[in-house]
C-alpha cells in the first residue's frame, strides 16, 4: 500500500494537466510554512492574550490599540492551528483498520488540505506588515522605454490593458494624462497609437496595494505591423505605480500636504512653476488654446508636466497631485532601500530595482511570463484585454510580494536570534 501522500496522485496529475505551476508553487510554499514564522505568530498570539487579559481589568488606550493591531495574527493562528489539528487527525484515521472510516477520511483530506493552505496564506499575510499606502487609490504611469515607435505602441496596449482590467473589475478610473506623439500615420497592429506618456488613476480604495507589484519594466516581443521581414522586435515599457490621494480635497489630504512629516509634503518654495509657451510674442499678440504647466522640484530634479485640460488651473492642480504622488513614492522607496541595506543579504536576490524587467509579453508564442513569481500564462489576448488571466498574474505577484515580506521577517528573526556579541546595538 502506498504511504499517505502529501498531495494525492490524482490531484497531482490534475494539477499538472492544467499546467498551473502557480498552484504547485503555492502548495509547496504552504507545506513548508516555515517553523520560524509559526513561532513568531505564537509569540504574537501570546502577547495578544496577555494584553486582552490586562484590558479586562484595566483599560488603557495604548494597550487597546496594540491589541487591535495584532488581533488578526492571533485569529489567523487560531484557525490555522485548528486546521492543522484536523489534518493530523485525518491522517491518523487513514491508518485505521475500519475501511469505511478510511474512506471518509480520504474524502475529507483534500478539502482540509486546501483549507490549511488557504489559512497558512492568511497567516502569512497577517504577519507581514501592511504597506503604508496599501489602502490608497493609485496612479498608473506608463512610459515607453528608449527606442522606436514599437515601444510607444505597446505602451498604448498596456494602457488599454489596465483600463479594461479596471472596467472588468468595476473599478472607477480617470485618465489624468494621455500624451500621444507624432507617429506619421502609423498604427500598431491592434490599432494602438504612439503613446508618449499616460497616467491612469484607479480611484478605488486599496488599488495601490493591488497594483503596486506592476511597477517595473514590461517587455514585449513581437513582429511590428510595419516590419516587412517578419523579424521579432523586443522593446520595453516602464510602468510606475504611485499612491494617490482621493480627488476630493478632503481635510485629510490637505492636512497631509501641509504636514512636513508626511510623505506627500512638498516645500512649495522648492518647486518651480512654469507655463510653457512657444517662443515669440505672447500676451495679446497670440491666442493659445493650450495651457501647459510644468513643475520642477528643484532639489531632486523631479519634473511633471500637464496639458490635457484647457484650464491652466486644472492642469496646475493635476500636476501638483502627480508631483506629490511621485515624491511620496520616491521617499518611500528610499526608506525601503535603507531598511533593506540594514538587513541581511538574503534579500538581495529578491530585490527589484527600477531597471529590472518584471514581465514579458511574447506575441508569437501567445505567452505572458511573470518573471518574479515564475508564472507562465497562455492566452495573451485575454491578458491584454484585462481579462481573468491578468487577474491570475496580479495574484501571483501578490503571492511573490508576500513571500518576499516573509523572508524579510525571517531574516529579522534570525538576526534577533543570533548570539549577541557584535558591537553596537
Amino acid at each position: 500500500m502506498l504511504a499517505a501522500p502529501w498531495v494525492c496522485r490524482s490531484c497531482a496529475r490534475s494539477l499538472r494537466s492544467v499546467g498551473s505551476p502557480r498552484l504547485l508553487r503555492r502548495a509547496s510554499t504552504i507545506a513548508a510554512l516555515p517553523p520560524a514564522l509559526v513561532e513568531r505568530a505564537r509569540k504574537i498570539a501570546a502577547e495578544h492574550d496577555k494584553l486582552t487579559t490586562a484590558l479586562e481589568t484595566d483599560f488603557d488606550q495604548k494597550t487597546a490599540v496594540r491589541a487591535g493591531e495584532i488581533s488578526r495574527v492571533a485569529t489567523a493562528l487560531r484557525e490555522f492551528e485548528k486546521a492543522s489539528a484536523s489534518l493530523a487527525e485525518l491522517r491518523s484515521l487513514l491508518e485505521s483498520n475500519d475501511t469505511e472510516l478510511r474512506e471518509l477520511a480520504r474524502d475529507d483530506l483534500e478539502s482540509t488540505q486546501a483549507q490549511l493552505a488557504d489559512l497558512g496564506r492568511k497567516l502569512s499575510v497577517a504577519l507581514t506588515p501592511k504597506h503604508p499606502f496599501a489602502d490608497m487609490p493609485c496612479l498608473l504611469e506608463i512610459r515607453p522605454g528608449p527606442g522606436g515607435t514599437e515601444g510607444r505602441f505597446f505602451a498604448d496596449s498596456l494602457f488599454r490593458m489596465y483600463r479594461s482590467y479596471c472596467e472588468n473589475k468595476g473599478y472607477p478610473t480617470r485618465i489624468v494624462k494621455y500624451e500621444v506623439s507624432e507617429s506619421d500615420g502609423q498604427k500598431g497592429s491592434e490599432g494602438e497609437v504612439a503613446l508618449q506618456e499616460a497616467v491612469l488613476e484607479v480611484q478605488q480604495i486599496g488599488a495601490y496595494g493591488e497594483f503596486r507589484g506592476e511597477s517595473g519594466m514590461h517587455r514585449v516581443q513581437r513582429v511590428p505591423a510595419t516590419e516587412k521581414s517578419g523579424r521579432t522586435h523586443t522593446s520595453a515599457v516602464a510602468v510606475w505605480v504611485l499612491p494617490s490621494f482621493p480627488e476630493s480635497p478632503s481635510t485629510d489630504a490637505e492636512s497631509e500636504w501641509d504636514n512636513p512629516e508626511s510623505d506627500f509634503y512638498i516645500d512649495v518654495a522648492e518647486v518651480r512653476v512654469e507655463t510653457m509657451r512657444a517662443r515669440g510674442a505672447g500676451g495679446q499678440h497670440v491666442n493659445k488654446t493650450e495651457s501647459a504647466i510644468r513643475l520642477t522640484h528643484m532639489p531632486t530634479g523631479t519634473m511633471v508636466s500637464m496639458q490635457d485640460s484647457r484650464s491652466q488651473h486644472t492642469n496646475r492642480r493635476e500636476a501638483w497631485r502627480l508631483l506629490r504622488s511621485r515624491m511620496a513614492q520616491q521617499k518611500r522607496e528610499a526608506r525601503e532601500e535603507l531598511a533593506q541595506k540594514l538587513k541581511s543579504s538574503v534579500l538581495a536576490s529578491s530585490q527589484i530595482t527600477r531597471g529590472d524587467k518584471i514581465r514579458t509579453y511574447n506575441y508569437q508564442q501567445d505567452r505572458c511570463t511573470e518573471h518574479r513569481s515564475g508564472l507562465d500564462v497562455h492566452n495573451l489576448p485575454n491578458v491584454l484585454d484585462g481579462g481573468e488571466k491578468l487577474g491570475e498574474i496580479l495574484e501571483s505577484v501578490q503571492g511573490w510580494l508576500t513571500e518576499r515580506d516573509i523572508q524579510m521577517i525571517l531574516a529579522e528573526e534570525q538576526a534577533d536570534a543570533a548570539p549577541k556579541g557584535k558591537k553596537g546595538k
Binding site: E179, V180, S181, E182, S183, D184, G185, K187, V193, A269, R272, V273, E274, T275, R277, A281, G282, G283, Q284, H285, V286, N287, K288, T289, E290, S291, Q307, D308, S309, R310, S311, Q312, H313, T314
Partner: protein, 333 residues
C-alpha cells in the same frame, strides 16, 4: 506660415479622425490637434442641443478650421477656477493674464487690510476682476470699467454665470461693472473718494506696426482691434508718448490722483515695460509714491533677478518674457 506636409494630414485622418484633418490646418501639429478635438467633443457632450452632435461637431471643426479662435467656437475660456464666457467683440482672456492674476491674489492674501478695494480698468470679459474676487476672502470691493458696451454686458453675464455655477459666492453688492472711457475727464470724480488697494489694467498695448506684423492671424482677424491697438492720436499728442504707450500715460495720471497702494499693468514685452518704468521714474510725484517697482515675467514665481536700466536697477520676478509692471507704495510689496 510654412506648408504642412501632406503626410501629416493623412496621419491626422488615420490616427485621430477626419475632423482632425480639418483642425490640423490651424493647430499645426498632431498632439494639439488631438487635444482640441477632444475639448470640442467634451464641450458637445456636456451641453445639450437639438442639433445632432455629429453635425455640431462638424460645424465647430469647420469654424475652427477657418481660423476662428477656439474660445469663440466653444463660447468659453477657463480662467483660474472660473468659466469665462467669450463672445466676438470682446478680447479672450490670455494664460499670462491668468497666471499673474493668480499670483497677485496670493500677494494680496498675505498682506492685506480687511476690506480690499480693487479697480480694474479696461476689464473686457471681467476676467481679472472676477478672478481676484474668487480668490480673495470677502468682503472685497471690485469695480470694473470698459469703454465697450458689449464688454460690460459680457462682464455682467460672467458674474451671473459664475455665481450660478457656484464658482463665485453670491455677493452682488461688492462688484460692479460700468461703461466709461478712461480718458474722459468725468471719470475721476466718480472714483476719487475711494481708498484703492489695487489699480490693475490690461489695456490695449500693441502698436499699429506690430499689429500688422506680429499678431497671430486668429487674433488679427477675429478679436476686436479696440481691445488691442491704442488709436488715441489726440491724447497721444497731449501726453507726449509713443502712441502704443498712451494708456500707460493715462493710467499713471490716474494713479497719481487716486494713489492706490499698488498698481499693476500688463505690457507687450521688455521694451514697453521699461518705457513705463521710465515714465514713473521721470515723474517726481510718482517715483515718490511708488518707490518699489518690479517687472513680472510670464511665469511669476518667487525668484528674482536684478537688471540695470540707465540709472536704476529693476527686479524681475519669475521666468519667461517680460509681461507686466508692478508698482507698490513704500512699506509693502
Amino acid at each position: 506660415m510654412p506648408r504642412l506636409r501632406p503626410s501629416l494630414f493623412w496621419a491626422a485622418r488615420r490616427d485621430i479622425s477626419p475632423f482632425a484633418a480639418l483642425l490640423l490646418q490651424v493647430c499645426r501639429d498632431l498632439p494639439s490637434t488631438a487635444n482640441e478635438l477632444r475639448w470640442i467633443r467634451e464641450h458637445i457632450a456636456s451641453t445639450s442641443s437639438l442639433v445632432p452632435s455629429k453635425l455640431r461637431l462638424w460645424k465647430m471643426c469647420e469654424k475652427r478650421a477657418k481660423g476662428v479662435p477656439l474660445q469663440y467656437v466653444l463660447g468659453t475660456q477657463p480662467f483660474g477656477g472660473l468659466e469665462i464666457k467669450c463672445r466676438p467683440g470682446v478680447l479672450i482672456p490670455r494664460h499670462e493674464t491668468e497666471a499673474y492674476t493668480t499670483e497677485l491674489a496670493q500677494i494680496l492674501l498675505r498682506q492685506t487690510p480687511t476690506r480690499l478695494s480693487i479697480l480694474d480698468l479696461c476689464t473686457g470679459t471681467g476676467c481679472i476682476a472676477l478672478g481676484l474676487l474668487s480668490l480673495l476672502p470677502p468682503p472685497v470691493h471690485v469695480h470694473g470699467i470698459d469703454i465697450s458696451p458689449i464688454a460690460i454686458s459680457l462682464a455682467n453675464t460672467n458674474l451671473d454665470h459664475n455665481t450660478r455655477l457656484g464658482l463665485l459666492a453670491p455677493q452682488p453688492s461688492s462688484i460692479h461693472f460700468t461703461q466709461a472711457d478712461i480718458f474722459s475727464p468725468s471719470l475721476l470724480p466718480s472714483l476719487t473718494p475711494h481708498a484703492w488697494d489695487l489699480l490693475i489694467s490690461n489695456p490695449p498695448y500693441i502698436s499699429r506696426g506690430a499689429f500688422a506684423r506680429e499678431t497671430a492671424r486668429a487674433v488679427r482677424n477675429y478679436e476686436p482691434r479696440l481691445a488691442l491697438v491704442p488709436d488715441r492720436d489726440d491724447e497721444t499728442a497731449g501726453l507726449g508718448c509713443a502712441s502704443e504707450d498712451v494708456f500707460y500715460a493715462r493710467l499713471l495720471q490716474l494713479a497719481g490722483v487716486l494713489t492706490p497702494r499698488r498698481a499693476f499693468f500688463e505690457a507687450a514685452g521688455i521694451e514697453q515695460a521699461v518705457r513705463v518704468i521710465n515714465m514713473v521714474k521721470g515723474d517726481a510725484r510718482l517715483s515718490g509714491l511708488y518707490p518699489q517697482v518690479e517687472i513680472w515675467r510670464d511665469n511669476p514665481h518667487k525668484e528674482y533677478e536684478v537688471q540695470r536700466f540707465g540709472d536704476h536697477e529693476v527686479p524681475f520676478r519669475g521666468s519667461g518674457g517680460a509681461r507686466a509692471v508692478y508698482l507698490c507704495q513704500s512699506d509693502q510689496l
